[in-house]
């Protein structure tokens, strides 16, 4: 594996020249499912082609499991060479403590500012004007996935927006179909709520509440509308007895449930089940109301290493990740969108193309990860998982709690 130098076609596109000696770099991440692993393999292949070697350190389970491991390794003085983080504010303190490598020189050399799109992705990697991470993809959450079969069964055309969907709920229920599939994990309920905010109240309200922490707006009538919709969603999801998001997706695939609000990664499930977008299932970005997508995603950080050779290899890895070929290969496997606009994604499916269109129009918002601290987000998650599972909790009460979380947020 070490003598990959001949496959230097890719290496040549990398501005930072590969060092002569092969260097082993350990990269940690939490991409362990089939599709994810295939996507990582593309990154590794591209990096190995530069004459170095990618040592894979995969740990499943993003937040709870992988993060303490990564942080322990970095603070324990024995860091990996690169590590995945959701970009946003998660790694802020590690950067402030000087544990993360400053990538500004590489970024300037390669003009990342000009190629990374939307620019907010790079902004979240930036602290005090310096760039500390490499965004690798865009994942959006604002999708409603509908089972065409379920609506066929009740003889109603597949809805094109949230209101039509809500209107069809009683008929679905009568036919023994769960109108809305919803997993029990806190982040899923919270995701559904964020999507409702963006779709029903609009991007401005979303930005003011999550970004500017406007507690008055959070307590106001515009948000009250969203909470009423969430109340509706709660009753539609009342019979959904599943834990994981993909179990919920499976309910939609099998036609037991009519729809699910979930991120674009749900496509992987439909694909595995052999379903085709448009024929077997329908995707509505922004719930069909407000076609906006979030530009969260994954990014890689590079801890400061003492070893000069490894540091040089880190730079190679950073630029390899952003190389156009790597971006295409990686994102096609991952089902996410590339972070640069100048690449061709001919192989993308219908739903992905919808996403690319919206992205091209610039209808984008930042993800909550980028706007709020993990601490506040966990509180929001806890609130909504409680709300969605406690019919006795009124929408007004939930809104009051939500406003107080927003008021205290940082």
């Amino acid at each position: 594996m070490r003598y990959h130098l001949t496959t230097a076609a890719l290496a040549a596109t990398v501005a930072f020249a590969a060092p002569a000696a092969a260097t082993d770099l350990e990269v940690t991440h939490w991409w362990t499912s089939g599709g994810e692993a295939a996507a990582v393999a593309e990154l590794a292949k591209a990096f190995d082609a530069t004459g170095n070697k990618w040592i894979d350190g995969a740990i499943a389970g993003s937040g709870g499991t992988a993060r303490p491991i990564m942080i322990s390794r970095i603070t324990g003085g024995d860091p990996m060479a690169a590590t995945q983080f959701n970009h946003g504010r998660q790694a802020e303190e590690l950067v402030q403590s000087g544990l993360m490598r400053d990538l500004t020189d590489i970024a300037e050399k390669e003009g990342w500012k000009d190629i990374v799109r939307p620019s907010s992705l790079l902004d979240s990697c930036t602290l005090d004007g310096k760039i500390y991470c490499v965004p690798v993809n865009i994942h959006s959450q604002q999708w409603l996935w509908l089972s065409n079969a379920a609506f066929e069964k009740i003889g109603v055309p597949v809805p094109t927006n949230w209101d039509e969907y809500v209107a069809a709920a009683p008929a679905l229920e009568q036919a023994g179909i769960i109108p809305l599939a919803m997993g029990q994990q806190p982040w899923q309920t919270s995701l559904a709520f964020q999507v409702l905010v963006v779709a029903l109240a609009g991007s401005d309200v979303y930005n003011k509440v999550y970004g500017d922490k406007d507690a008055d707006l959070a307590a106001g009538p515009e948000m009250a509308k969203v909470f009423e919709a969430a109340d509706k969603a709660r009753s539609m999801a009342a019979k959904s007895n599943v834990q994981d998001w993909n179990q919920a997706t499976n309910l939609v695939i099998s036609g037991q449930a009519a729809g699910q609000i979930m991120g674009d990664w749900a496509q992987g499930e439909f694909a595995v089940a052999g379903q085709v977008a448009g024929e077997d299932y329908t995707c509505l970005p922004g719930l069909g109301v407000n076609e906006v997508i979030q530009t969260g995603g994954d990014a890689f950080y590079f801890p400061v290493l003492k070893d000069a050779e490894k540091s040089a290899a880190q730079a190679t890895l950073a630029s390899t990740m952003l190389a156009p070929e790597t971006q295409v290969a990686f994102n096609l496997k991952k089902g996410s969108l590339p972070v640069r606009g100048d690449v061709d994604l001919a192989a993308a499916n219908d739903c992905m193309k919808k996403g690319l269109d919206i992205l091209a129009k610039g209808n984008v918002i930042q993800s909550p990860d980028q706007l709020m601290s993990a601490d506040s987000l966990t509180q929001v998650n806890d609130l909504f998982v409680q709300f969605f599972n406690t019919p006795a909790m009124s929408a007004a009460d939930a809104q009051k709690t939500f406003a107080s979380i927003v008021a205290a947020a940082d």
Partner: protein, 311 residues
């Protein structure tokens, strides 16, 4: 307590013979009221204990389509060993598609030194506490027992700092040390109780012969404490073999234990859950402690009998 009393009262009518005696012929006819109650209760409880194992085995032998539709208790319509093969040899952890086999030897490499060292240290500790008490020992022992109640997660960062200062962070030695520290409370308690039950005359005779601390430990205590060592070995093998958190936080990918692959197979956040592979992986990972139990179950009870009874 009511049901316990009923069962005991109903169940203990028969004459009781010495526990150390070998099995005799059945003293009564097979279908006495007593036997029905005893075996009936045991069988019902055994079913409750076996149900999950049954579900695991049955599921691990089904294909995914069958799992999606069928109920979890129905036997497989078509038996497949695919999930087992996949779990052991081809399930992917990121880029390494070697299944659990990749971590198996690492687990062995971690478990053996950790078990040996933690038990040696705890046994000497227990011996000192039971037979050579010194001022202040009880205070430290009490702290140790309280330490058994601290959630592991809380100690992650302090231990990162300690290991970093000792220069052991990321090494196998560091991990062995961590297992030794966290095994110490319960093991020391077991050994202390065991050694305290050794007849005092034996100890005094050795002292008269001029034997010291270590001579008595190696020549008298060690040879007669096989049972309690068996108990300790079983407890430690189970604990260390199943450990995920310490193995993954305090080492590097090239020494990650098998449970890391298990976690990666079972806990994949984004992707299709292959329940059959999950179950096969689970059973494969549990195999080592299970085999240890099956082989040494008898020794286990004997060992605990010797160690925990007299304090």
């Amino acid at each position: 307590m009511a049901d316990q009393a009923t069962i005991s009262a109903a169940g203990l009518g028969a004459a009781r013979t010495s526990a150390s005696e070998a099995w005799g012929p059945r003293p009564r006819r097979a279908l006495s009221r007593r036997n029905i109650i005893i075996y009936g209760t045991l069988t019902v409880v055994a079913l409750y204990y076996l149900l999950p194992l049954y579900v695991m085995i049955v599921t691990s032998l089904k294909g995914m389509p069958e799992i999606r539709m069928g109920n979890i208790f129905s036997p497989p319509m078509e038996i497949t060993f695919e999930p087992w093969v996949k779990a052991w040899a081809t399930a992917c952890t990121g880029l390494n598609c070697e299944g659990l086999s990749r971590g198996f030897w690492n687990s062995v490499r971690i478990t053996i030194p950790s078990v040996v060292i933690s038990i040696l240290i705890a046994s000497v500790n227990g011996y000192a506490l039971a037979n050579w008490r010194f001022r202040g020992a009880d205070i430290f022992f009490t702290i140790l027992i309280v330490g058994a109640f601290i959630p592991y997660q809380v100690m992650i960062y302090p231990i990162v700092i300690i290991l970093r200062e000792m220069g052991l962070y990321g090494s196998l030695t560091g991990l062995v040390l961590v297992h030794t520290v966290f095994g110490m409370p319960i093991l020391t308690l077991l050994f202390r109780n065991y050694f305290a039950s050794v007849p005092e005359e034996l100890f005094k005779a050795a002292r008269v012969d001029g034997a010291g601390f270590w001579a008595i430990y190696f020549k008298i205590m060690l040879p007669m404490s096989l049972p309690i060592f068996v108990v300790a070995v079983i407890l430690q093998i189970t604990g260390i073999w199943n450990d995920f958190l310490f193995g993954v936080v305090y080492t590097k990918p090239d020494v990650y234990p098998m449970t890391v692959q298990l976690n990666n197979i079972v806990n994949s956040v984004q992707g299709v859950k292959e329940y059959n592979v999950n179950m096969a992986a689970t059973l494969l990972t549990g195999l080592v402690p299970l085999i240890v139990y099956f082989i040494s179950g008898k020794l286990f009870v004997r060992g605990i009998a010797a160690g925990a009874v007299k304090g």
